[in-house]
């Protein structure tokens, strides 16, 4: 049997010499010729071409060298502006419902059945408040942002973004298709990493995987939007607040794109040297978006999935935070010990101990960074009657109130800016790390992809802090 198989392979090898070296090209040619012939027979074109081709006109505009990038930035800014200004009201409503009304009710209920203080604390002040916070803060912006983004996608705009970015990637020594996986990463980095499968060359695929983390993902958009609203939006007159906040979020997203180019360039000239391969990018036709269906699927696929993930991680995080804030060692809580320990290093980076602890807690899910930060800040700075005792995650009715809390905790504009930077540039979440390992099958590349961004984050925030302090004299 075995020899039979070998005989086939042997004669195939011999016959290959007979049929000529251009066999592959010839067969492909025959295939194309036949395809053309069959297609020609089946398709009749109208005698007269339409004079005005809408698709081509739009394409000329959005992929033009002059207007391509400004239009892209304008469109993103508009989307964020809508998100930021639109999310305020529903956020407030959800907050007053879940936290103002329901939380005291739950507390009263627990008291009436005589629940012990620690159980009541863990369940209601820890788990419930953490979850309620995540829902009231994250649901409104997501419910606005994701449908808008999905509409752009359904319309066919994303490949044009990729088209605009393609030649820059080529210059950076990376595959042009990386522009697609990068755009995918704006939704979720784990999905972005999987989508690099469209890249054939292992070298270029690794570059795309390692740099995907610089695409702001679903879990980080809310952090950016919130910090921008609180620190940057409140610095300008109220009517400009939304616009300026939106622009600063766009600036961070663009910085991520620049970092993607820079790091790709550096990798392809150092540890991942090699030739750039070519490819064809097909621009799909513009399709009128199906509004209702888009609303529905983006609600199910994105909003609820992300929200659910946030809740799953917020629940145990709330319990752990409450416990660590109420577990005393030498008269000081465990959480405070940890924060104090990391504080000097944090301040050096223009951040603080609270932010670093929050990022450790948030390794499973970046979605819970802001709730953790607020809770820890109140706890450390004494809280002065805000919130409801130590270790309680809470919500504040306006950006200004949140700002007050944070300034009490020693925050400055620099802290806000550096938090936005660090949120962009730090290690991937645990799901993404696991996905990178599955896709590359290599512990070495997984480690590089996980550690490189966080080291970069430290370096960039450090220099930002030093330069800022030098100029501002703080």
């Amino acid at each position: 049997m075995k020899s039979n198989h070998e005989k086939i392979l042997k004669s195939a090898q011999d016959l290959r010499w007979n049929i000529g070296a251009d066999f592959h090209e010839k067969t492909m040619e025959a295939l194309y010729t036949d395809a053309t012939r069959i297609a020609d027979r089946a398709v009749t074109h109208p005698d007269e071409k339409p004079r005005f081709d809408l698709d081509r006109t739009i394409d000329k505009l959005v992929t033009s060298r002059v207007w391509g990038f400004p239009l892209m930035i304008l469109m993103l800014t508009f989307v964020f502006w809508l998100t930021i200004t639109g999310a305020n009201l529903p956020s407030g409503v959800l907050y007053s419902l879940l936290i103002d009304k329901l939380h005291p009710l739950l507390k009263a209920g627990a008291a009436s059945i005589g629940m012990p203080w620690w159980l009541d604390g863990v369940l209601i002040d820890g788990a419930y408040l953490a979850t309620a916070w995540v829902v009231s803060v994250m649901l409104p912006p997501m419910a606005i942002f994701f449908p808008l983004f999905t509409l752009l996608e359904d319309f066919g705009y994303l490949p044009r973004v990729a088209f605009n970015l393609d030649h820059i990637f080529r210059k950076a020594g990376a595959h042009g298709k990386q522009s697609l996986s990068m755009v995918m990463g704006f939704g979720c980095n784990a999905a972005g990493v999987i989508s690099t499968r469209i890249i054939d060359s292992p070298r270029e695929r690794l570059i795309a995987i390692i740099t995907n983390n610089f695409s702001l993902c679903n879990g980080r958009w809310p952090t950016q939007i919130l910090v921008a609203t609180i620190f940057i939006g409140t610095m300008v007159p109220a009517h400009l607040g939304g616009l300026i906040s939106a622009m600063s979020v766009v600036a961070i997203a663009l910085l991520g794109v620049l970092l993607t180019f820079g790091v790709s360039w550096a990798l392809s000239r150092t540890i991942l040297k090699g030739e750039v391969s070519t490819f064809t990018l097909e621009l799909p036709p513009y399709r009128p978006p199906r509004i209702l269906q888009t609303l529905y699927t983006s609600m199910i696929d994105r909003t609820l999935v992300v929200l659910w993930r946030a809740i799953i991680f917020a629940l145990p995080a709330g319990i752990i935070l409450w416990t660590s804030a109420n577990l005393m060692v030498g008269g000081v809580s465990v959480a405070e010990h940890l924060v104090n320990f990391l504080n000097p290093f944090g301040l050096l980076l223009g951040l603080n101990g609270v932010i670093l602890v929050a990022y450790i807690v948030a390794i499973p899910a970046n979605e819970i960074v802001i709730p953790t930060i607020l809770m820890l800040t109140v706890m450390i700075s004494g809280g002065n009657g805000i919130g409801a005792g130590s270790g309680v995650m809470f919500e504040l009715e306006s950006g200004l109130a949140t700002l007050n809390i944070l300034t009490q905790g020693g925050w400055t504009l620099l802290t806000g800016v550096n938090l936005m930077l660090f949120s962009l540039i730090h290690n991937p979440c645990s799901t993404t790390i696991y996905t990178i390992y599955k896709e590359t099958g290599s512990a070495k590349w997984t480690t590089i992809a996980s550690l490189m961004p966080v080291v970069m984050g430290f370096v960039i925030t450090f220099f930002t802090a030093q330069i800022w302090r030098l100029i501002a004299g703080w």
Partner: protein
């Protein structure tokens, strides 16, 4: 359910043109689709969804299974295999959504996943979703699929876009030329699925006799080489349904197929349907190709 593929293949000529009774008439089953979501237990037939990128494979997948595989207007959206189930005319189908590819030459991971499944997964029906407004380029893939299997249904999708470009696509002529059923659809708006389901049903049950078009290479030397190899292949692997394609791939030096001949994996293609139950998926190999 003894629907043995090989018997069907042998009896195909007998079944030609014979419509058993009303129960197999498409009109009878028109509104008979039952979306089963991820429930794929006890399937009778496996159906693969292939096609160029961005032709609407995932939209067809969602419409038939009721699942919500993410769809988007850009090429390369689906890079993994998604699976779901549906029931039609008393048969349970397992539907596998393959990554979109322009060819089946397996030069990248997504092409390899698609090709390995069509070849080694041995689906009972392969639906090729085709963009009617870009027919010529899409037919390249169709012709390659037809070299591997004759159990094909073409979903001539995006008919609305062809209309928008004021093109007329004659699906009957296309069906005659390709030798397989061609069904015009507009998947985004759920149009044409009844005909598509009926066509799937007929191919799955072996009621449609397919005479797929074969690419003409017009090269006497090649023809001789192919027929010599086909004889050898059919001798070593008597059950292989597409010896001509295997011969062409061997002549082209396709490493995956050379390996399949070497270790006899090609012989496993002669599985009967019952043997394949639950085993088909394991033949799809995954290579990552990264150095440690």
């Amino acid at each position: 359910m003894a629907k043995e593929k090989n018997n069907i293949a042998q009896e195909e000529s007998n079944l030609a043109g014979v419509n058993a009774d009303c129960a197999s008439c498409p009109v009878h089953h028109a509104a008979n689709l039952k979306k089963l979501g991820v429930d794929m237990e006890n399937w009778d037939f496996v159906v693969a969804l292939a096609g160029n990128p961005n032709t609407g494979k995932s939209t067809v997948f969602n419409a038939l299974t009721g699942l919500r595989q993410h769809t988007g207007n850009w090429p390369g959206k689906t890079v993994t295999r998604a699976e779901g189930g549906f029931e039609y005319a008393d048969n349970r189908y397992k539907l596998v959504d393959l990554p979109g590819t322009y060819s089946l030459l397996a030069t990248s991971l997504d092409e390899e996943i698609a090709r390995d499944f069509i070849l080694f997964g041995q689906p009972d029906v392969t639906i090729v979703v085709v963009d009617a407004s870009r027919l010529e380029r899409n037919l390249n893939l169709v012709l390659q699929v037809l070299e591997i299997t004759n159990r094909v249904v073409i979903a001539l999708n995006l008919m609305d876009e062809a209309d928008r470009h004021q093109m007329k696509v004659d699906h009957r002529r296309l069906a005659r030329d390709l030798g397989v059923p061609v069904v015009p659809t507009i998947a985004r708006y759920n149009e044409g699925f009844e005909d598509l389901l009926a066509a799937i049903h007929e191919v799955a049950e072996g009621e449609t006799l397919a005479k797929p078009y074969q690419v003409k290479y017009d090269n006497p030397k090649l023809d001789r080489a192919v027929s010599q190899l086909v004889t050898q292949i059919e001798e070593a692997f008597p059950q292989v349904p597409n010896a001509r394609w295997v011969a062409l791939r061997l002549l082209d030096g396709d490493e995956r197929i050379i390996k399949a001949v070497e270790d006899g994996e090609l012989g496993e293609l002669s599985y009967t349907r019952d043997d394949l139950e639950g085993a088909s998926v394991t033949h799809v190999s995954h290579k990552s190709g990264f150095a440690q």
